[in-house]
């Protein structure tokens, strides 16, 4: 593969020398692309469960994030990443999240959150276009120094329908003013560990699927974790297929 392509660094970093994690994008690395983001809601049932279905028809399992943004009962001041307001995982107690190759389902049980029958509960759901086809580790500069400079320049690209010169940052597809979720590796495994070779602890994301089942799960008893050398699924066993994303971001 020839040495060609394009890269944009975060504002303040020299694109020629900075570490990979300070790039906004590079043609060497993939970014997570948001397929859809939407607010959905349902009510807490008197018994049983209500299910929100988000049909995506992607034909494969894709990364997603679910944020509980409160209810008509507990209020909507706080938004919780993958938990209810008490901290129970959205895939553990009172609710379930299941992804299929054509849809995502959020099941809200009668005991969800404060268990107020009839309360309307709200969620923000990010669904991504990317699949889990294997991307092996690639690095240009994976060191821990930055090559920072103070020069204030860069680029921004707006969403469709927004003027790139005047739109807000939130209305940009990307901007060199912000860091991005650059993918170092992705794929699936039934093994216990993935070696990532970054030399530092990376940002990561994963979910799992019992081999042979059609739906995926997010949280489970044996939580995956990361070190400076591996992403570790030990304890989950080979009966589960693990879907993982390892990003360039550095945690430690």
């Amino acid at each position: 593969m020839g040495d060609y392509g394009a890269a944009v660094s975060q504002k303040g970093y020299d694109v020629k020398t900075c570490d990979d994690r300070f790039l906004v994008y590079s043609s060497v690395f993939q970014n997570l692309k948001i397929f859809s983001v939407q607010e959905v809601s349902t009510t807490i049932p008197a018994s049983g469960a209500n299910t929100i279905t988000i049909t995506h028809n992607l034909g494969y399992y894709a990364p997603f994030f679910v944020i509980y943004t409160g209810s008509s009962s507990v209020g909507r001041t706080n938004s919780y990443f993958f938990t209810d307001s008490f901290g129970y995982s959205l895939d553990y107690y009172g609710s379930n999240i299941r992804q299929y190759t054509d849809r995502l389902e959020i099941q809200v049980d009668d005991i969800f959150d404060d268990a107020t029958t009839g309360a309307t509960v709200y969620f923000t759901v990010y669904l991504f276009l990317d699949d889990f086809s294997v991307v092996s580790a690639k690095s240009i500069n994976s060191g821990t120094t930055s090559g920072a400079s103070s020069t204030d320049y860069g680029i921004r690209v707006s969403k469709g329908g927004y003027d790139v010169k005047t739109c807000t940052d939130e209305q940009c597809v990307f901007s060199s003013s912000f860091f991005n979720q650059i993918i170092h590796m992705k794929g699936t495994t039934t093994g216990d560990t993935i070696t990532h070779s970054l030399g530092y602890v990376p940002n990561f994301y994963c979910f799992t699927r019992y081999t042979g089942a059609s739906e995926t799960f997010i949280y489970y008893e044996n939580f995956p974790n990361a070190t400076s050398t591996i992403l570790d699924f030990t304890g989950m066993g080979s009966d589960y297929t693990k879907y993982y994303l390892i990003f360039k971001d550095k945690l430690n």
Partner: protein, 135 residues
């Protein structure tokens, strides 16, 4: 909406004809844009204790956030990073942590109970995005 914009394909894919998912980036799809990241530590959290880390932001809306927690001296969990939320129990250590956000702050809540009655230390890391958590 006119058909304009830009796209960059992965290696070995034709940028003119490949699927969107085989693009490194395309202006057709938004990306998560991080605006603030930081880290810190929690020292000597009591055996049956809890604490809330508060990070201020000035976005004026509830942002999309992610967090990680690293128990550094637990008996059971190892010196590794877990993505939040986490709720794990083992023989000695019992740990629960989550991340949530308001229009002005991001909060990381950590609660533990340890059978050996010793304190614990933690590192944490957070990412705050310009993208909205509550639409």
């Amino acid at each position: 909406m006119g058909d304009y914009g830009f796209r960059i394909s992965k290696d070995e894919y034709d940028v003119k004809t490949c699927d969107d998912k085989n693009c490194v980036i395309t202006s057709k799809y938004n990306t998560l844009k991080g605006t603030l990241t930081g880290s810190g530590s929690i020292s000597n959290l009591a055996s049956e204790g809890n604490t809330t880390i508060t990070i201020n932001h000035s976005l004026g809306y509830i942002p999309f956030v992610k967090g990680f927690l690293n128990p550094t001296n637990s008996v059971d969990f190892g010196n590794v990073y877990y993505q939040l939320p986490i709720w794990i129990d083992d023989l000695t250590d019992h740990l629960y942590s989550r991340i949530y956000a308001t229009t002005t702050q991001v909060k990381i809540y950590v609660e533990q109970w340890n059978a050996d009655n010793n304190t614990r230390n933690y590192n944490y890391k957070y990412f705050i995005f310009i993208d909205k958590g509550k639409l």
